[in-house]
Amino acid sequence: MTKNKPLDSLGRREFLKTAVAAAAAAGAARLGRSAAAFAAGDATGRLVDVNVNLGRWPLRRVRFDDTAGLASMLKERGVAQAWAGSFECLLHKDMAGANARLASECRREGQGILLPFGSVNPKFPDWVEDLRRCADVHRMPGLRLYPNYHGYRLDDPEFARLLGLAAGRGLIVEIALIMEDERMMHPLLRVQPTDVAPLAGVLKKTPGVRIVLVNALRALRDKALADIVNAGDVSVEISMLDEINGVGNLLSHLPPDRVLFGSYAPLFYFESAALKLRESPLTEAQSRALRFENAHRLLPDAG
């Protein structure tokens, strides 16, 4: 097996620190530890995962769909910080309640690494109050939006208003384009992917907003992806990137500071994202940027 380049001195210190912490947390999460170590390789260390989710997926139970278990698993794999949405926010109409539970769960059981990213549905009455509570009451660093589940397009004027309010409060806005492969959806829960094309026009009118597209890279590729990323402060994460040398190819045509690590855990196996960092030959600078530096740019106290 080809061995990857050694970490630089800072990365090595962080790796060792994380390894010690992981060892201390032994038994916290039931998993094939040796398999996790294999998957992590030199991708462990100061990871910021910008796409994890709390709560239960409506259609399947998965391992780590309890907050404490998820936090333990992530820490064991070297994640220093994870941006957490809530599956409850997909379908619950009491968004304020779902956001409050998300914040409480992150605080009580997040082991210091989970940051809540609540949601707002701009088609709901008085949604501005939900946004205010996310920022002022729960002190969330950002929002995660689900336009296709919430029934609006990105050229909806209320979406533009939401972006403006988020920018004014310094909130990062994550936009989930899909949640699962549309070929395999439950017949009673079929949801079309969010069309991201109108976003570029909205961003021109909303200076300063920081966007992260999550679950975006199944269909959004090549020029269409580059156009969106270059339309503003738009980043993407790699959970649904799936092709040979995917990360390497992505970095060859996107600005290097716009690609983030995201796993979509626990609905996806965390190891699938981690191994992408092993499959692609990355320079030390690329690896550090993707693992945590780019997240730091968006959220300076990240990790």
Partner: protein, 264 residues
């Protein structure tokens, strides 16, 4: 921790180089980074089509032949067939498997696999000790015209209990696909090709037994990495993980490798 890893489902990625040999060489560089020591290799669609003519079958298999001949210690070739041309398929199996270096049959989305036209192909595959890897998917959005479902593969397997089948992608909608093939011990489930959805591997191992589950990537429709994560991230025992990663495909291929005098 090191694992022995064989990838049971890869395509020759023609965008990676000028020649088949160069394409496989480049693909194996990425496999190397993940410790994947062997790959089963076949062509994919042909210029965007699955409904290959006999000439196109031969041309696509010739490319795989060239690639595996260049890397005999890394890649096992499967003959890609279109069962709509049964006689041409039999000729191609004799050319590529009986008389050539290939060790398996790959069927994609050219014909529903429960059709009688498959029977002579399966009978010859049994005679040659070659496994039959059938693409399957079950899409709520609607299958392709000639795309097989895991239920159709179950029908074929029931007609040929002595043959060895691999259910490509475990039916895509794996929670249905695993159930569809569960009653048929001669069908192995191939984990590749879909999202790395948590629980997939655990359900396959639980419902089929660890001896009937195979790691595969479906490169280049997917990556080696994302699909390997399905196995390395699964909540299964280490002994079962080793079966899924390599033990099962080695056991499955052993009869034809022995017959061909190929040492592993």
């Amino acid at each position: 921790m090191e694992y022995e890893i064989w990838d049971n489902h890869t395509h020759l990625v023609l965008t990676l180089g000028e020649t088949p040999e160069a394409c496989l060489k480049e693909s194996l560089k990425f496999a190397d980074r993940l410790g994947i020591s062997r790959v089963c290799l076949f062509s994919g669609n042909w210029k965007g089509r699955y409904d290959l003519t006999p000439d196109e079958m031969r041309a696509s298999n010739d490319m795989v032949w060239r690639a595996v001949k260049a890397y005999p210690d890394r890649a096992f070739g499967y003959a890609h067939l279109n069962p709509k041309h049964t006689l041409a398929c039999l000729d191609e199996m004799n050319r590529c498997i009986r008389d050539g270096p290939m060790v398996g049959v790959k069927l994609i989305a050219a014909e529903h696999c429960n059709r009688p036209t498959l029977d002579p192909i399966v009978e010859l595959a049994m005679k040659l000790k070659a496994p039959v890897l059938q693409h399957t998917w079950l899409k709520i959005t609607g299958n392709l015209t000639d795309e097989s479902t895991p239920m159709e593969l179950a029908e074929l397997a029931a007609r040929h209990p002595g043959a060895t089948f691999i259910c490509g992608h475990a039916g895509g909608d794996w929670e249905q696909g695993i159930r569809a093939v569960r009653p048929h011990p001669n069908i192995y489930a191939d984990l590749c090709g879909g999202d790395p959805a948590a629980g997939f591997t655990e359900m396959a191992v639980r419902e089929l037994g660890p001896e009937r589950v195979l790691y595969g990537s479906d490169v280049n429709a997917r990556s080696y990495a994302s699909q390997l994560g399905k196995v390395l991230g699964a909540d299964i025992s280490e002994s079962h993980r080793r079966l899924v990663l390599a033990g099962n495909i080695k056991r499955l291929l052993k009869p034809i490798l022995d017959a061909k005098g190929i040492k592993i």
